[in-house]
């Protein structure tokens, strides 16, 4: 146990953890909502800033270790800050700056008692996630994992008076724990009977292919439950709408990435061997998850559910990158593995910015209008122009459009696909083009979803006049938080090479290779392999578009009178035009529902022409719930009822059971 006298990055990170815990306790004891929103949340954002800065510095430095004598006797906490941890700490810090700043504005009207508790849990959640990234033994990892799961459970059930929210919270807790058991078993296999649960021992252990595969599958299942990989995604669309918006942002933007971290840590760092079919499984699962997520996102009418399904999609895309990296790595094509892994990590970082931004944006809409249902919103760009602009950035980024950040990671991933011919496995050679096609399809569908999301909330006429009239634009703190995240989306899109030089440390650690993009053609040119093979320069792209727009505006202003007349919308001369004639959320999603009919369980009640009070009802159900979960529940119930037969509530029957058991024991054990 030696804490070095000079301040290591790890010490500063531990300092931030203690600082956050103190802030949480301070909030708990102050019970003053003005104090909490005005001082504690901005202070938390400052902690995040320090964390992000330290993480950036420690990416390039060798791993730091620490052993804290805090746990059980003989079972101290092992901590380690290496490149992989540092990258995810950077993600955590950078995204939570925006979320904490936003929270300072968002929670200002909350009752102080609830807020104090929420603020405490919020900081505990942050601490839990930070420790997950730092843990270097299975014991601390599980402890931090559970802290994270439980604190987020309580955050999700902030409005626990509502039965649906309690139900959503329960589902979340259940699946989180099914996953946790699987992770625990995965660590159990990896320690291989040594009784030593440090990651260092696991790295040193040599598992044979069978046990390594068991470990990988357990990890994929366990972390998949947290990430929302199919079919363990069911909690996501329930829990995200239930939680307050900053919490949804935190869960979707950051917490899902802890699962990505876990998969990477286990499969690239702790396990020594990698088999190609692990990658094929991850790739296939990722694609199914991505397509499923985006299809369901397109038919949602609740804006937060829509974003939750979109998170499932993005996790799928990240998993595709990881799967591809495993495939390449197992065939010793490390340069390509580094490319695929860079794409996955880059997309994780992107998603934490853009999804946090959009979830926070829905929070402001919710506060301003009290509506989560897309069908009752509309026209908010006039009432909330500041919010509309910032959300537009997130929308375009999530739709994967250049020159924003979502495009960069998809570009990298597609490049990785294009470089894959020549894999020494014919099945993979068939899988890869289909996978590339499916990925392109889900990226294109994401644009559909985002047009629906933005168009229905912010554009058009207000669908319910009374709702949008009282809407007020965001306050300063909310604006700061959102603007930070929007700036992040833009910066991640415009300076990919700078970001990738930092990701290079991670890929160097995990697959022993990096892209080294700057060395090739300078900081503006993203050239993952060779300049002749592929290059992308977002600066020139945006310069060309901005110049084009500005030049056109200038020329039009110069040579044209510039007169504008306002009048009623023309709409092909159609005289009666009301807000109810616009597409609803269901209407906009209808083509997708019709084309992909097979995947949806559609319930539709259409009135007959003679109904006095016509009533229309349509809903789409998640079929996986019926195919996977209900059968399990039924089997459980059946077993329970069988077990129930043993119980009669009469004392002599229980005595008889004891007697029979004793006899049996005597007969067998002797």
């Amino acid at each position: 146990m030696s804490l070095v006298s000079t301040l290591l990055p790890l010490d500063i990170v531990l300092g931030v953890i203690v600082y956050w815990l103190l802030l949480g306790l301070l909030a708990l004891f102050s019970q003053n909502s003005h104090f909490i929103t005005r001082y504690i949340f901005p202070a938390a954002a400052f902690g995040s800033l320090v964390l992000a800065a330290v993480a950036v510095i420690s990416l390039g430095t060798p791993a730091n270790f620490a052993v804290l004598p805090l746990g059980l006797p003989d079972l101290p906490f092992h901590l380690r800050l290496d490149a992989l941890s540092a990258f995810f700490l950077l993600l955590l810090g950078a995204a939570s700056i925006g979320i904490s700043l936003y929270s300072a504005g968002y929670f200002r009207h909350m009752a102080s008692g609830t807020l104090a508790l929420l603020c405490f849990e919020y900081h505990l959640f942050l601490v839990g996630m930070t420790l997950v990234f730092l843990a270097d033994d299975a014991y601390l990892f599980m402890l931090a994992w559970e802290t994270m799961a439980l604190s987020s459970y309580f955050l999700v059930t902030t409005d626990h008076a509502v039965p649906e929210i309690r139900r959503a919270g329960f589902l979340y807790l259940l699946i989180a724990h099914v996953g946790a058991i699987s992770i625990l078993m995965c660590f159990g296999v990896m320690q291989g009977g040594h009784g030593d649960y440090t990651f260092a021992t696991m790295r040193a252990a040599h598992l044979d292919a069978f046990w390594a595969s068991i470990t990988f599958l357990l990890a994929l299942f366990g972390f998949g439950a947290k990430a929302g990989i199919l079919p363990l995604h069911v909690w996501l669309p329930e829990a995200h709408p239930a939680a307050p918006s900053p919490i949804s942002a935190m869960m979707s933007g950051i917490m899902l990435k802890t699962a990505i971290y876990g998969i990477l840590r286990v499969s690239f760092d702790l396990l020594n061997v990698q088999l190609w079919w692990w990658g094929a499984i991850a790739l296939t699962l990722g694609l199914i998850t991505a397509l499923f997520g985006v299809l369901f996102a397109s038919v949602q009418s609740d804006m937060k559910r829509l974003l939750a399904y979109s998170s499932i999609e993005n996790i799928g895309i990240i998993l595709v990158g990881i799967g591809l990296a495993i495939i390449f790595h197992s065939f010793n094509k490390d340069a390509l593995a580094a490319l695929a892994l860079t794409a996955a990590l880059y997309h994780s970082l992107n998603h934490s910015f853009m999804k946090s931004l959009l979830f926070l944006g829905t929070g402001s809409v919710l506060h301003a209008t009290g509506e989560r249902n897309l069908g009752k919103l509309g026209g908010l760009i006039h009432r909330m122009p500041k919010l509309a602009l910032l959300v537009l950035v997130g929308t375009l980024a999530l739709a994967g459009l250049p020159p924003l950040n979502g495009f960069v990671s998809e570009w990298l991933l597609l490049q990785a696909f294009l470089l894959s011919p020549g894999l020494p496995n014919s099945y993979l050679n068939m899988l890869v083009p289909i996978a590339a096609a499916a990925l392109a399809l889900s990226a294109a569908l994401a644009a559909y979803v985002m047009v629906k999301f933005y168009g229905i909330i912010f554009l058009g006429q207000p669908r319910e006049a009374n709702l949008s009239e009282k809407a007020q634009d965001i306050d300063l703190h909310e604006w700061l938080g959102l603007a930070w995240l929007a700036l992040g989306c833009i910066a991640l899109g415009l300076f990919p090479v700078y970001i990738i030089t930092h990701i290079d440390y991670v890929t160097q650690m995990l697959v022993g290779h990096n892209l080294g993009t700057t060395a090739q053609s300078g900081w503006m040119w993203l050239t993952p392999i060779q300049a002749e093979r592929a290059s992308y320069n977002p600066m020139i792209l945006i310069a060309a578009i901005v110049l084009g727009v500005w030049g056109t505006l200038f020329v039009v202003k110069k040579f044209y009178h510039g007169r504008v007349r306002r009048s009623a919308p023309w709409d092909c001369g159609f005289p009666e035009q009301t807000a109810r004639m616009q597409d609803t959320a269901e209407g906009f999603g209808q083509p997708i529902r019709q084309i992909f009919d097979l995947f949806f369980g559609v319930i539709r009640e259409v009135p007959s022409p003679f109904d006095k009070k016509p009533h229309y009802h349509g809903a789409t159900k998640d079929l996986i719930w019926e195919w996977c979960y209900l059968p399990i529940a039924k089997v459980n119930e059946k077993i329970a009822s069988l077990v129930g037969r043993l119980q009669h509530g009469r004392i002599h029957i229980y005595l008889l059971y004891s007697f029979v058991t004793l006899l049996a024991l005597l007969a067998f054990v002797r």
């Binding site: 250049p402 590339a436 096609a437 644009a447 006429q461 084009g548 919308p569 616009q582």
Partner: protein
């Protein structure tokens, strides 16, 4: 220096030539339908007319609505300038490869769809929904077409693709054959051409592109029309680059420019006439058949790529 000169030349060339292509297609169509037609210069006259009018904006038009035509115009101009039309030595080309090119088309599509939803009319949202419906299948299909070519030339840079394909002797790649059919289908759909949409009608319940731009007038409409022309031009020249790359001046020698320009004009007139013929002999589809049409294009493109992976050629 040559490169910069060529780039500027190409930028101006595509800007000025794009309406001519539209005019030529319309003229050919008129001849095929036994009409005399308005002449190939009609699109220019229309642009001039629109630029002189007063812009009428709907009461509730937001800044997004006013801004979109400019974004649309400049992104389509950029897209058309990036394609190696007469020479491959373009300094802008390495900045944007084929994937980014698809991204630029998507950017334009998302903006025009958002603008269509801005006024909140029934036609506007209808058009936006249908445009995104066509787009979400056309975009991956186009990407797969590009990938088939990129796999042959080992590069996603359009310039490298053209150079590789133009230098090789004439071989029919099976993957490119599939890709070519898929590309034509995508071209028709993305440019609001006949089996999918009809560029020459208003007030039709099956309209897509026209429904989105109903509320635009004057300079905004002119910019959108010009952008559509540029888009058709970009798609046509992409088709040339992938499937008939011969005659594009390489290495940026200025001497070969006149010949390249001549060849380009011949190719454009043939392509325009074929497009007019295709539009005349086919009938417009029901809107619900469009996903099947686009799905076929997508599957053909994927099949092309799969064949490349399986045959390794």
């Amino acid at each position: 220096m040559n490169g910069i000169f060529l780039q500027i030349f190409q930028n101006l060339l595509v800007l000025l030539l794009a309406p001519l292509l539209v005019g030529w297609v319309n003229q050919c169509r008129a001849w095929l339908q036994n009409r005399s037609g308005a002449g190939v210069l009609q699109p220019y006259r229309k642009l001039v007319k629109l630029f002189h009018k007063d812009a009428v904006l709907a009461d509730n038009a937001s800044p997004l609505f006013r801004f979109t035509p400019y974004i649309l115009f400049s992104s389509m101009w950029l897209a058309a300038s990036l394609v190696p039309v007469i020479a491959t030595d373009l300094p802008l080309s390495p900045a944007v490869d084929v994937i980014a090119l698809v991204g630029i088309f998507a950017l334009a599509r998302v903006f025009i769809s958002l603008a269509a939803m801005d006024i909140g009319t029934s036609f506007g949202t209808l058009g936006a929904r249908r445009e995104m419906l066509v787009g979400f299948l056309a975009e991956p299909a186009l990407l797969m077409v590009f990938f088939s070519a990129a796999l042959i030339s080992q590069s996603t840079s359009l310039v490298t693709i053209v150079e590789t394909l133009a230098q090789k002797q004439f071989v029919i790649y099976p993957s490119l054959a599939f890709a070519a059919i898929a590309f034509v289908m995508v071209l028709l759909a993305e440019n609001a051409r006949i089996p999918v949409d009809n560029p020459s009608t208003h007030l039709e319940l099956t309209m897509i592109h026209e429904a989105m731009i109903l509320e635009y007038s004057a300079r905004h409409l002119a910019l959108i029309e010009w952008a559509s022309a540029l888009k058709l031009f970009a798609y046509t020249t992409i088709g040339f680059s992938l499937f008939m790359p011969w005659g594009i001046a390489e290495a940026g020698t200025l001497k070969s420019l006149p010949l390249a320009l001549f060849i380009l004009l011949i190719k454009l007139s043939i392509a325009g006439a074929s497009l007019a013929l295709l539009e005349t002999v086919t009938a417009k589809m029901r809107i619900f058949r469009v996903p099947e049409f686009m799905g076929t294009a997508f599957l053909l493109a994927v099949l092309g790529m799969l064949i490349h992976f399986l045959l390794g050629s």
